[in-house]
Amino acid sequence: MQFKSQAVAKPYFIAAIGLFVAQVLFGLIMGLQYVIGDFLFPAIPFNVARMVHTNALIVWLLMGFMGSAYYLVPEESERELHSPKLALALFWIFLVAAALTVLGYLLVPYASLAKMTGNDLLPTMGREFLEQPLITKVGIVIVALGFLFNLSMTVLKGRKTAISTVLLLGLWGLAIFFLFSFYNPDNVVRDKYYWWFVVHLWVEGVWELILGAILAFVLIKVTGVDREVIEKWLYVIITLTLITGIIGTGHHYYWIGTPEYWQWWGSVFSALEPIPFFAMTVFAFNMVNRRRREHPNRVATLWALGTGVMAFLGAGVWGFLHTLAPVNFYTHGSQITAAHGHMAFYGAYVMVVITMISYAMPLLRGRAANSNLAQVIEMWSFWLMTIAMVFITLFLTAAGILQVWLQRVSETPMGFMATQDQISLFYWMREWAGVVFFIGLVTYIVSFFIKGSDTKAA
């Protein structure tokens, strides 16, 4: 750690991991409800568990991005953070708001929560991923603005690098596109059209800039390859991302009442979206092969390479699988979608946040790298979580293919619930893979508490 103020990243990382645990626990609850329908009903209905699962995911990834930015920007700018106090204050505001929101989901009927929190003033709730009460949404905007102000001031006063510029572009984009969550037209088609301005333009747009910048930063640090080379790659990757991903939004506009020309725009451009993900994989391996030093933090390098591979598989391959309109006609809104959603979120965003934590946390704790034993245990957690996620994806894909076949392709289509009964075996296997994932996550947390005698001095 070169600058004192980088230390504000630490609480963000710790809270992120805590919320990650909550996310996966609620995933396991839902996974069980898929096969034992009345499990925990009516205490925790499926929709409530799902809100906790997905919103905890989003919030912990945002916490991870913020922590990463607070660590990365001072080092890139070669100066202390504009205001470490503001960063800490915003941390507590964000954490308390997230906790209250989750408690609200769990303890108050959703309709009452909506009433209590001003949804009648401006109805924004009850849409997938954007279920947060109005006051939480406003809180997110305030936290994001404070955060961006803090970082932008730091960058403006310091050295400007491609990495910090791209990171800030991504983060500003994140905040700006979130504003569409306040727009909720009565017309369902228009509601859905602009809803994707948040969801798609996040994960297949501006978040990829954040992803690229964090990965580039860690790769410079662990490989010692010239900044010039890495920054050129970064620009090429994010160029490919945005020229395919912006129009690629069209792959969500096939069947929601929008005009049919979107089937062409969406299919053609989104079919190209895997290219930047592939480039990212090649980039990561290339840089590690050309490394100029053996960094003692080997596990951070493993996470960086894993991000490249798994993001390509989850977003690139599993995204391509169902992105062409004639295929999507059958797979739209099926378990195939869930399979892709899981591996893409894990491979791209979960893994890049863990990459950064893995690299930065030892430094924040005053050493260049953890002891050999701690690293080996962290590597176990890498393999457990990653392989479990591969199996979750494979089982959901199998479930999805059967679902589509029985319910949508067949000459004598089965009803939804009857189809679900037919494929419950795969849901059981997904749940077991989920248990392995959870064991991997526990192993990951354990690795933070392993001492060992051979920690490397910072």
């Binding site: 329908g37 929709n47 279920e131 809104g333």
Partner: protein, 146 residues
């Protein structure tokens, strides 16, 4: 990558490409808005339908169901449920009776909560689902089962 291709060239292509495709996207969005009235059933967007949408949202139906294929995959597609359950001949009655009868309490079966909707709210809910079922979705879903 060759050294003739500099970082600043890469950066300029990034900004140029992004601005170009973003503007193209805005143009397509404009075109989209022009084309929607012919497809999105807005003529039937009555106050009752709008009230129904709000009930749909404040009960978080999307947390279990899909609507036009978007949402959760735990429970049936509802974009076409009005038509699946009889359309103008019985669809409304079926949907209202269904919502009132929840949860089924059948052991081991997926359960839908009881929302205690009033008769008026039930009518609004049905009006909303009928309106959605008449949106032109390019023949999606592949069949009535959703």
């Amino acid at each position: 990558m060759s050294s003739a291709f500099t970082t600043s060239a890469a950066r300029n292509i990034f900004y140029g490409g992004t601005v170009f495709f973003f503007l193209l996207f805005l143009a397509l969005t404009y075109q989209n808005e022009k084309a929607l009235p012919a497809r999105d059933n807005r003529a039937n967007l009555t106050p009752q339908v709008i009230a129904g949408k709000k009930i749909w949202e404040t009960r978080n139906c999307i947390g279990c169901h899909t609507l036009l294929g978007e949402g959760a995959y735990f429970a049936p597609e509802l974009g076409n449920v009005y038509k699946r359950r009889g359309g103008d001949k019985g669809g409304a009655e079926f949907i209202k009776a269904w919502i009132k009868a929840q949860p089924t309490g059948a052991p081991g079966r997926r359960q839908m909560p009881q929302f205690n909707l009033t008769e008026q709210e039930l009518d609004e809910m049905v009006a909303f689902l009928k309106y959605v079922s008449e949106i032109n979705t390019s023949n999606w879903p592949p069949n009535i089962e959703g």
